[in-house]
Symmetry: D2
Subunit: 419 residues, 4 copies
Amino acid sequence: MIVPFHVTEMLRRVRQKFAKPADEARMYPNREAFTALRPVRTATPESVSRFWQRLSGGEEARQALADETTLENTSTYSANIENLIGTVKVPVGVAGPLRINGVNASGDYHVPLATTEAALVASYARGAHAATKAGGISTAVLYEGVLRSPAFVFDGLLQAGQFVDWVVANIDALQATAEATTRHGQLVSLEPVIDNNIVFLLCRYVTGDAAGQNMVTIATSALCEHAASECPVPIRAWYVEGNFSGDKKASSLGTMTGRGRKVSASVTLPADVVASLLQTSVDAMLDYGQVANLGSLLSGQLGAQAHYANGLAALYIATGQDAACVAESAVGFTRMERRGADLFCSVTMPNILVGSVGGGTGLPSQSACLRILGLQGSGHGAALAEVAAALCLCGEISIVAAMAAGHFARAHESLARKR
Amino acid sequence: MIVPFHVTEMLRRVRQKFAKPADEARMYPNREAFTALRPVRTATPESVSRFWQRLSGGEEARQALADETTLENTSTYSANIENLIGTVKVPVGVAGPLRINGVNASGDYHVPLATTEAALVASYARGAHAATKAGGISTAVLYEGVLRSPAFVFDGLLQAGQFVDWVVANIDALQATAEATTRHGQLVSLEPVIDNNIVFLLCRYVTGDAAGQNMVTIATSALCEHAASECPVPIRAWYVEGNFSGDKKASSLGTMTGRGRKVSASVTLPADVVASLLQTSVDAMLDYGQVANLGSLLSGQLGAQAHYANGLAALYIATGQDAACVAESAVGFTRMERRGADLFCSVTMPNILVGSVGGGTGLPSQSACLRILGLQGSGHGAALAEVAAALCLCGEISIVAAMAAGHFARAHESLARKR
Amino acid sequence: MIVPFHVTEMLRRVRQKFAKPADEARMYPNREAFTALRPVRTATPESVSRFWQRLSGGEEARQALADETTLENTSTYSANIENLIGTVKVPVGVAGPLRINGVNASGDYHVPLATTEAALVASYARGAHAATKAGGISTAVLYEGVLRSPAFVFDGLLQAGQFVDWVVANIDALQATAEATTRHGQLVSLEPVIDNNIVFLLCRYVTGDAAGQNMVTIATSALCEHAASECPVPIRAWYVEGNFSGDKKASSLGTMTGRGRKVSASVTLPADVVASLLQTSVDAMLDYGQVANLGSLLSGQLGAQAHYANGLAALYIATGQDAACVAESAVGFTRMERRGADLFCSVTMPNILVGSVGGGTGLPSQSACLRILGLQGSGHGAALAEVAAALCLCGEISIVAAMAAGHFARAHESLARKR
Amino acid sequence: MIVPFHVTEMLRRVRQKFAKPADEARMYPNREAFTALRPVRTATPESVSRFWQRLSGGEEARQALADETTLENTSTYSANIENLIGTVKVPVGVAGPLRINGVNASGDYHVPLATTEAALVASYARGAHAATKAGGISTAVLYEGVLRSPAFVFDGLLQAGQFVDWVVANIDALQATAEATTRHGQLVSLEPVIDNNIVFLLCRYVTGDAAGQNMVTIATSALCEHAASECPVPIRAWYVEGNFSGDKKASSLGTMTGRGRKVSASVTLPADVVASLLQTSVDAMLDYGQVANLGSLLSGQLGAQAHYANGLAALYIATGQDAACVAESAVGFTRMERRGADLFCSVTMPNILVGSVGGGTGLPSQSACLRILGLQGSGHGAALAEVAAALCLCGEISIVAAMAAGHFARAHESLARKR
């Protein structure tokens, strides 16, 4: 048998669905009339109500989403969403105290985590307990810079070169144009990348305490328009984003040079903490670390880590960050090594995209989660990024210990399934 | 100046923080006492209340998270989270109707999207409108199989080979052991990968209508224990997951062979739909597509796409999926090509991890969102995966059109900033 | 200064070259007449002579390439090259004896290495000495299969699915058609990969003792023609290779599933061998190994290794292999771990493409190198692949030791520069 | 059957080899005595002769490698190899004239290609003919910089940060120290990358007309020793290369920022040239280009191209370059797009490592090949890099045309097999 099983099995299922030849037609375009939804930007209780007249799910569904408190806040939510029909309630658990000794974050944090996956909060809480017992996690923001990468298309290589020449000669005006659009953003570097007749300009910004995705888009758009109107080299086309920046996706670029904030976090776990709180040994954790690192490599991960995404998604949802950025943030490098009898553990995460202002951080329950952390509002962006990295380190410690001790499946069985 | 600007700038900031030498100490471990939280598995209004006595944020924060309805549902939430302190309310908007002509999904769907990012729902809604106007999106699940990849460590290559020999000879017993732990899961393939003295067993399961992550962990754990107790070859160590499966992270393995469901979705947009609804032209979209594809390649993305993560995160949060899986799901391949005067567009997404049962799908508001789709409960897993892919195709169409038309920055400016 | 130095420096140089505006023209197409070379398939001393009338370089160059022995062998070379003008002489050094205890290779080998890079042979010889002193290297071919990946283009997803259905139903006839073209090749698996309307068929062959690249092209071409003429589903276009197979380039696919032969090799170096022959310690080598592994990850290598390419290129050139395959072969996984006081080292290389027959293996000096190994002609393909992996392991041991001991720069200074 | 065929087939073969249990022992270490080769740095006819007394292969093999001319040149070869036993003769064919309109290369070149793979020279010659007929290929070196990436290990993040601070404050002294070791090398940038307690310093050099690998090693070693002796921060260990630079392997870093020279080359092929010389059409080539690009993405290539390695390996061997660098050089981006009725084609290759001096460029036959190009000796490094890129563009044009026309298999059948 030389055709993989899954192929034959899938074909069998599809044939069942398409038993009668006429059924094929159901994959063809279908021009029946439909009634479009009228888009709503500024929600009101009435606009929500109008949508529900179109939606299936029944009264129970409507109550679950469009509850009274939500309806009272429609105008608040309107800054963050279109076509509002309600709110989904994501349960929040707390992990902590998590002690952080950081360049920007400092103190014992209770970290709110929004998730529907059983065992997640318990696992991060266990890691936080061990790390805090060990004296806390050292953290530092190592790098900062949100990227936009507009693209310019020319007739040929010669014009591409001339354009880069012009850009470099006019760099001050371009910077001024970009920065004129924003109070908090600064363009800190601009690197042209030429692929024959196409030029990408890698524009890096610092964005204050905001994640800054919109800020950099608007600033870059102004920069591009200035270039397009002033540069004497004929431009065939330009785009504010050439899909080079790694926005909302894992990329080698992000793994290497980072997007958002690059943060490193580490702790040395004493052998007795490993034994008492994690119920395994330093040797067992190091042995598993070797295998896990090989697994990372063999499967072609970007970076090498276990499950940053779990902690990040839960923190991002709880605190009103852009949850889609988990796709780019959940890459990095987890390391463990022996230090005498103890265990040094670190994470270095090059793409943490968080803000203590902007985005969803001002919504009622999201803002509440930031206040639990003491990191709501201006001045806390870098500290929040360090909390995110420290949290991920807790998750790595906990899962590696569980794998090393053979507890991983048992924990999930007991916390998820048996309830 | 040969040191990058960001390095010198970051050093300047750090030096400011560490002006006095004594400040260094703040990055050292700190052994002050702390009071651990007592873990809570089964939440009650009282347990929630106890936590809040420890949390900062004040009464307003507490009201925002631990509202009355949430407190009434503590036992419901307990199956999905530990240390419950409340719920975060994520606004939900609706995009649709989205017409799907699929092998599994069929009909006009209203898709609930939970996000705090302005412009997201509007953008997907625009793409859905264009696709539906074009007769709808064809979809098919092409592959199915959730992976677990346990690792076994041996003395050397010889023992690794003998173990694989034993596994193959005992494959039926191993399969039976794995499948005995689950009603819905089936082990459909097992592929050993040898790296000298370490053997990974790539175990692929179909998991019915559940996403199935816990199901495959428990089944694989049983399989491993059987192998460990029965196989005569001495095993130095084994782990239920060798960090090879791509669970919760983007990986080449996932891009290539998939994890969860691999779904393809396509539509051919008539030129007049592009002109009227997307306000650009087929040529302009194709031209941008070339640049965007180059950007993908130059930045070392896994796959090549624009922003699957946006739609996936919003759909996963709304419908009670595991939001951390966005990290692995948000990879794939977007393609566009000319068909006469019209534009063929497709997405192929190899790692969609969704369930219509299990996980957070049973929680009140999440279940409500699934009911809006008509995909709540058994029998809808594959259709939900097709909805996810079709949704992502809408997002790709919309962003490519916006970039091609030069509207991208303007849309964000108007929808996000100016409110 | 926010533009990288290299950009401004390069611009400065380019401006120097293009000082006068007229100079721009030199990058434009130039329609001056030219005289094409008449292609020569079957070389003779006369055809070589005719080419030299056109070539610059002078009589000395001609003597160096078109020496008498080469001219005597023009008909021999004609099977391997077109437009022959002579031979380039690449110096060959020997490393060994290298003791191999393999599934296929067994004994003490003297390995001929063709290179112009000083220190290369010395480094591999040092590693071979240490490995042999340790009792030799264990090796095994773990997998075998040269890939071709033809592509078929259809109108849409539906037709793509129907084609796959047809392929699976007609698999025996397709296999027979492919295998009818070859005495030694067997089609061992066929896996369809669908990306919406495009289907790639991953065809894996075993190719006997030949590297087999042409064999699999011809067999796959026959398979495709059969499918194109017999399959009732309308095919818009097909190509014998869809650039999916990883032929002549590093790819994740190759890293994961392999192309050619996957070979693993390992040795445990006693601590005293490390001290006496490699002049460093087991600890020092392990410490460097951690850093080198991190370097691999941070720079986004495929796999993680130090310099397989050096040994492979030298062995491939010496023994008449396809040197371009170094691009795909030079990926894999080097591991080191402590075993008591000693050092376990392994390499696992998934893409070794070598043959003991075919390609350049029959040319006089290349055949001589294979005879030095005792691996010339039929029956030796797998053993040669194991020699290649064992050789690369020697190179990894040597370079890691040199880095750990701080000897790396010194060795190159002494062997390369000071001569 | 759920275990892949190749696993069971391989197990069957291995069992055959290990029929008797005693055979297992042949994979164990074997402590029999052996006689080491005495290393020879400075070869003489006598040293060559001594080696041959140890080598199998017989007199015929000896004649083929250790011919009279080689023996006369032993001292010449000694600068490039150890343990010399002769030379392997690689046949050289010529492709050209290849017209290049470049920033550095300019004129009609006859390109010597050393290979044992039939059809290779014919294919590149065909591409060169088409490109020259189209008016020639425009080329430019876009970037220059050979990387070394030493690593420094510290106790923790704090010390790592202090070290970077020291490096930046002492950058001038470090640069001076590095540059004092070399006449031609200049350190053009230094970028520290921190992964918690480990710091990599990405040192980029321009290296004049040499490939420069040894030059940058020696300069960086001096830089490191200076840092190690002067920096007050305690350094636990340092290594002259942290396996980050991409030396001798494909890496994302190389794909993105380049190593050696980044070169772009392009040509617009008139429709009639495509029809008459390549026997296909612009549309057919573009259609195949779409599929080939998808194949690149699906298989996880670094970059997207067809077979740069073929041309590079042949050129590198012919001209005395380091053939192992094919592993890092053979990555990049091939693009094609319609220009009216014609076809624009480009390659951008970020890692071309060639020199017109140093390495094997001074050996008799290698130097002869450089003289055929008119690029031997000082002043020609950049032009040689442009020739390499232009050559690869010819190869891409030819293979895409062959695939599009369905000629690929036929060409290999006729040129390789039927002879």
